[in-house]
Amino acid sequence: MDSISRDTEEKWALPDPVLLGRMHGVVSSLCNSLMVFPHRHRLHHEGSQLEPGKEVRLYQVESFSWLWGRQARKLINESVGTFLSLQKIMQEGGGAEERKPTLVKKCREYRSMIQASMEESIIFEPEEVESDLHAYGQVLYKMELILSLLEILFIDTKPGGLVLNQLVVWVRSHFPTNHEKKSEALESDHPHQHPSYWEIIYGLVLQGSLDDVRQMLSHHPRADTDPFLSMDELLRKMPFYQVYGGVSAAEFTVRWQHWQGECERRLEEGHFATCPKLLTICKILCGDLDTIGSLWDLTDTWYHLMVSTLLYTNPTAKLFHLAGAAQDAIEHTRGNHSAITPLDRILLASMEADTHQVIKECQQVLDNPWFTTHLTDLLYHTFYQQAEFKFLGDLRETLILEYSEVLSGHGSLWQVGVLYLDHCGTSGIAMAQVVLERRPLTSDAVAHKVVQMARDRKFDNVVMSVCRVMGRRALDLDRLGSAIWWGVRSRDAAFTSHIAHKILQRYVEDGKFESSPLLDQLGPAMLLSDTLTFLGKYREFHMLYQDGKYQEAATLLVSLISSKLAPEYFWPVLLLDALPLLKCPKPVITSEQTYELMYLLNNLHTATTTNTEKQNGTATETSQEAFLEKERDIRLALTNNLAKAIIKEGTVES
């Protein structure tokens, strides 16, 4: 197996006056873009290398494809739905026979999407982009042509492997001119005077539309004559193989041979000697290669010619007959000097049943992987678990990665890209993480979206990273409430502690809490770090106090003090908070708790007096001053409370 990747080397020029194209490039963002700038290496001892008046320019180079056109948006959004539902059904399992109807259905969904997009591109667009749009329409037409052929050959296969009936329909639907002209002719007063009357008839014969041929012939003035009646009978009697028609292939062959024998007999007996046009038709029916070949320009393409030829020479053709028939048809049309196009190569490879080659050719010729990705996925599921098609698995993953990467650089389609990556093995998971992590967090809404998508996929590291980034940004903007909210979600203990400290320090400074509702709803999340736990509990204390639940408030405050959760700079605040509680007429702080507070006060006293010389921040300094002023007051309150508490406790016990 040779290389799959697009190995046609393509080159582009970037004329820049500074160094005549000496360029240096850096790829770094997700959006398939490349930064290019003129460069000469490190000649630091020289003066400026720039001639005066010249600018150092930077070029952003990006690959461009029809996928970014406005018309393709619908195609992208619809195809992801089909892709996902296909994956879901395939995951549910089931045998080949159960899978097949789904695959056929999904294949047709893709085809109808392409057709719809094609029709829109024809109808709606203004002229300015006509040529682009025309090219786009052409690409769509060809994709649909390929997909419908592959559907016939590999996906919607019939019992016995007979393919011709479907191929005839394929040719009719992609070459509708004969039918259109037929209607046009029949609408006129004298159909047989239509300039292309006989060409239309030959064309219809070559597409096996024999009823239409009979209709056309019936409008001929000589329709009642013997040759026409004889021909009408032949056309009417031509047998068509019906898969579920109750006739075996062998039996059909016998009937068909009998019919063709009859055609040959009438030809020899000179039924059509008086009418050369009918003679030609009869020769076609007899499968006369020279006659069919001479009419090949009515078939436009080699693949139409191939189908027409098979129709009258080998009506029970199977897939393995096609390779030879295709070669013959190409050989025949080659005389016309028409070069083999990439499309020809893809169709030929399909008929040769070389799916690998089909995908490779598609990949080389299309400027984005939309089609190849969906096609390969369909084929992968079609040939699921067949050893010879094992390569499809790897190929499918590579293509999905490539397609998602294209989408992930897009401002609004990146989410679609992630949906594909969910079905792409470990590489898909790794890539989805990169896509989510690198999504520019332009707003809170985007951040929430990314976090949600990461959480659904259990990408803990992505959730953590995004929340950390958002937390850091909020912190830089001094929005502490928002910072702690994101910090908690990032589950980063050190970072959250850092923000919690900031909030506490600010409280020490101005006695206010930033975004207190956020802090009050922390719940179990407050256990993330000690400082955060303290912050949360301290808020709880405030609430209890505000609600007048002094007893509970006091217990909580003392436990906060004794648990040593509080950072040292916050001790004075806690003691000052205790002051009104100590002064309650009925003691709410027990003697035991009072001792705790006294112990803390003593520690603090020593710390403060030794620290006063050391300048450690204005915030703590002012709070210490405030504290020293109140120290006497606190000592007094403690003593009073202790006395009251002891009396009260003693009274209760006795």
Binding site: S3, V26, V434, P440, N461, V469
Partner: protein
């Protein structure tokens, strides 16, 4: 089809040596022989100058963006032997640290994956590599002296992927810290931080180039246990080193021999595409095919006109 979607006058008075997009691809930093660093806001195809950083006293060789979870932080290195770390504060860029402990030009700077903390590696012409680690308020420096004799040209960190977890989601213990350096001694060296001693150990010395190694780039992890490094050299070759993660052996594979010295290799963020540029006026993009072959995707800045798109003929 490729098209130039924007074309901006950088305002630099001399050659640009490096241009780096930040983590999200929304900001671009450039540095130049004119001793300045410029920062642009990138929106679609428009770039707006939002910063002009001037502290260096020589040509600035390289810039590197830290992970945004640490804030908007940029590191730069220069011929003036200094490494400067900058931080955006409000709308102003400030120097937050200057490291001047190299004896010669500092050629390359690279931030470690965020999992390791805020850690910067710097490679210098004095042959040593410094690793600066941000602690609460200061930066601690650790130096690998004589990492490459004659000089060290480039340094690049390994992605933080714990061994045994392909997608990096279910980690057990901190991922090992590794980096790769390339130097004038023609070697590419892999360094690993010994978590018990805290020292950097030379883990592998890769011999393959025959002249100065100009640049090295460790590929981002794409969900596989294997590691990939690209190196380029004065010898006009680019070598892809692959370690399957099982045998521990680095297998070299020559990407290509070019017409001229190759100065620079860089990976796309998904690790799928390698951009190569050098003295032959070309920037080429390479991708590994399913069969493990490296194929050239496209090649800019060479021929005069692009051929008509083949798609039209299809």
């Amino acid at each position: 089809m490729v098209s130039v979607i924007s074309n901006v006058d950088t305002g630099h008075d001399d050659m640009i040596h490096d241009a780096q997009m930040d983590y999200f691809g929304t900001r671009l930093a450039t540095c130049s022989s004119d001793r300045s660093i410029k920062i642009f806001e990138v929106k679609g195809s428009t770039q707006t100058l939002i910063g002009d950083l001037r502290e260096h006293e020589g040509p600035v060789w390289q810039v590197a963006w830290a992970h945004p979870m640490y804030g908007n932080i940029l590191a730069s290195c220069s011929y003036d032997r200094k490494v400067i770390i900058w931080q955006e504060d409000g709308h102003k860029w400030k120097k937050i640290h200057e490291y001047a402990n190299h004896d010669s030009s500092v050629n390359s700077v690279c931030w470690a994956p965020h999992e390791h903390g805020l850690v910067l590696a710097c490679a210098s012409s004095d042959g040593s590599v410094s690793v600066l680690t941000s602690t609460a308020q200061t930066w601690e420096a650790k130096k690998i002296t004589n990492a490459h004799s004659i000089g060290c040209n480039s340094v690049s960190w390994a992605p933080a992927v714990a061994s045994g977890s392909a997608d990096g989601s279910a980690r057990t213990g901190p991922p090992p810290q590794r980096m790769v350096t390339g130097g004038c001694d023609t070697y590419v060296k892999i360094w690993r931080l010994d978590s018990t001693t805290g020292e950097w150990i030379e883990e592998s010395k890769l011999e393959g180039h025959s002249d100065w190694v100009r640049d090295v780039a460790w590929a981002p992890s794409i969900g596989l246990p294997r590691s990939i490094i690209a190196s380029c050299s004065q010898d006009r070759r680019v070598i892809i080193w692959v370690n399957d993660g099982v045998s521990g052996v680095w297998q070299p594979r020559e990407l290509n021999t070019f017409d001229d010295v190759i100065w620079h290799v860089s990976w796309s963020v998904t690790g799928n595409i390698l951009a190569v540029s050098g003295g032959d006026n070309k920037v080429s993009l390479w991708k590994e095919s399913l069969e493990g072959q490296w194929v050239c995707l496209s090649d800019s800045a060479k021929s005069q006109q692009q051929p008509p798109s083949e798609q039209r003929m299809f």
